[in-house]
Subunit: 414 residues, 2 copies
């Protein structure tokens, strides 16, 4: 009855021995994702984690099925745990876009699934921030989405020394391919070959490119020259106007494997090249039309950012905040006859928004104090019997300053 292979359990910190996934870090990542997307005016949506298998076949062809966490449900329907969010959101947009003013800026943070042969460290699920912008074909939209990607990573404490967004263009590659005499029927193979060039050896590269008629040398020259198209230069200028120019560079070595990209494509990488891509995305102007059976045409672009590489990178770069403090105030109950009033104090402090803990049962005074330190509380508060009835004593655990006064004044002591 262990958890299934490739699935994670997220524990509160400090992590138990042998566990590596922190729910606190996950929530920190989720908070940064959500907060930054909202600052950009993006709105949150979600869809079903189980979808008809055909939804993914329609977009990616039958070969995608081998990677999916698909199955037949009890009603004999062929379904799949969602491997990505784009088909779901494209369907939602196609059905509902008339209710929203353009451009539509949406984000989501779904858990995604795939079924692969179990390997060490190969997960079958991850969470992914998805940000998409619908209804605007101007490159200003591309710049807005790339800026959001950059600011999401910055909100997590990463700087231009930690990561860079490599910006490329399917249109630039298409133009190059045509000038090299490439035939339309081999264009997809060509993009796939370029996508794999950074991993492949010279022989494999030559073999993959052979049917397309384009030489490895010309491809390499094109990448090395790296001359921005007018469109890409506009995006660079736009980002520079925001002060984000140092986070991005044109790099035609990025092309993205997926078939449906139509324009700008990009990937974010750590500068040291220790990890796989942190995020990736691009423009996919035809997908909403495809998934709506041609009913809705809608330019679109977006990106996805997974939680796994991100969490590893944040840990490696020392950008994970401390989660040691889990409560603000610990209420000490040393005189058990004051327990009812102390519960009232606990309630009052919690209603003021503070996270408060206390000992549920009688406990020695020094143990309660030790617990307050362990919980990372900033203050403890304690009721005492004074000459004129109960009073409250509050200690600031950083400054060691103590204050005493009527119970009603407790909030002024914090």
């Amino acid at each position: 009855m262990q958890r299934l292979k490739g699935f994670r359990e997220f524990f509160p910190e400090p992590l138990p021995p042998g566990e590596e996934w922190s729910c606190d870090l996950r929530q920190h990542i989720f908070d940064c994702w959500r907060t930054t997307a909202r600052r950009y005016g993006f709105r949150e949506y979600d869809g079903p984690p189980v979808e008809p298998l055909d939804l993914y076949k329609a977009k990616s062809g039958d070969e995608i099925v081998s990677q999916l966490f698909n199955f037949q449900d009890k009603g004999k329907d062929e379904v799949s745990l969602r491997p990505e969010m784009t088909p779901t959101v494209a369907r939602m947009i196609a059905a509902a876009e008339r209710a929203y003013r353009k451009p539509i800026k949406w984000f989501s943070m779904p858990q995604l699934f795939r079924y692969e042969a179990p390997q060490k460290g190969r997960l079958r699920e991850h969470f992914q921030l998805n940000c998409d912008l619908y209804g605007e074909e101007d490159p200003a939209a591309d710049a807005e989405v790339v800026a959001l990607l950059i600011d999401v990573l910055r909100s997590l404490g990463l700087t231009e020394e930690d990561f860079v967004v490599r910006l490329s263009s399917r249109k630039a590659w298409q133009a190059f391919y045509e000038t090299q005499g490439g035939k339309p029927e081999h264009a997809y193979d060509f993009f796939q070959a370029v996508d794999k060039m950074e991993r492949d050896d010279a022989e494999t590269i030559a073999k993959r490119l052979a049917p397309t008629g384009v030489t490895p040398e010309s491809v390499k020259s094109f990448i090395e020259a790296g001359i921005p198209t007018v469109e890409l230069q506009g995006i660079l200028d736009n980002l520079s106007a925001r002060g984000l120019g140092s986070f991005v560079k044109v790099d035609y070595g990025v092309i993205r494997g997926l078939a449906y990209y139509t324009g700008v494509v990009f990937e974010a990488f750590d500068r040291k090249g220790e990890f796989r891509a942190i995020a990736g995305g691009g423009r996919y102007d035809n997908l909403v039309g495809l998934l709506s059976g041609g009913k809705v045409k809608m330019p679109a672009l977006g990106f996805g950012m997974g939680d796994v590489v991100l969490a590893l990178l944040l840990r490696k770069r020392g950008k994970v905040p401390s989660f040691a403090s889990t409560v603000d105030v610990v209420v000490l109950i040393e005189d058990e006859t004051l327990r009812p009033e102390s519960l009232g104090l606990v309630q009052r402090l919690r209603e003021s928004g503070r996270a408060v803990d206390y000992s549920l049962t009688p406990m020695k005074s020094d143990k309660q104090f030790k617990r307050a330190l362990e919980l990372g509380a900033s203050h403890w508060a304690r009721l005492e019997r004074g000459a004129e009835g109960a009073q409250v004593r509050v200690k600031n655990l950083k400054t060691r300053a103590e204050q005493v006064g009527p119970v009603d004044s407790v909030l002024t002591f914090l």
Copy 2:
């Protein structure tokens, strides 16, 4: 390629025609759940949404399978989408409890699944707040968990006029059952019969109770008398000390169907009785032992609160806040030669934490202004060319006050 039956899509507000599930309301509920649980010192965890089928059989017997969203995965393993969180968290606790000081107070907000014949309004998934406390058998723990349940609902704007927690006790029922001469082998059937009494007609009740030897009359008298046990009275007193006494009442009509409860049980209902239970829970002191094969013994209790009844109740009682304002500031770009500087202004405002929108492409001035109103912005900001270079004008859309000054002073105008 429509979404599967019984699954929801969550849209940003205002909702498109025909859609009823708001991602904004969902996030509002999630925020209140998380914030209140943290105020009580509860820590967040999560587990896999897919689990071995045996995990649920071990806890609930083979008959549970008919209700599960279970299937055979590609590796021929029998698995299930999680129908509840308790087996997962009990396993996590059993494996990792030594790393945590007791009592362990944990919460989670999983999406849960079941497979039932599709009916109108019958969902196959929902989200559920799960709060559990491990390692404390004193009724003070029960009071703490019930107080949390009450404060979660209060954080959503519900009052003692909207809901009540009905408090009961398996131990009280067990004692009653024994005084009535009920035999141990029929105890489970007896609890099941009592659990269904509020729905069943007199004939069915009599039929269900017959094998147990307890009469419907004696059961009804016991419920009507409603005399608190010493334990329940202690919990009532504890809640009264917090000022929460009016949110709870002893009601032995609640007994909870699940087999694994061992002590106090409770359910929260709307006072008008229009909806099914809002939340329910109780003490389950033997489950961690059962799921750990007897290796770890750990008293435990907790509750679950679903998002579906809650969202319906909040709407019906007018407790849903407005989600009309989605940005703080709209930057107007009326002079296109100022667009680069305006992008810098957008960036500066976003970096200050504001949600900011602007027109990605040239747009007539009055349209941009209209858009600012539609987005519910509190201010607009606009760059203008002054005699000494660019300056910024900021308008408060509520007070209609305008301020003009150097671009660097923009944050002081908000």
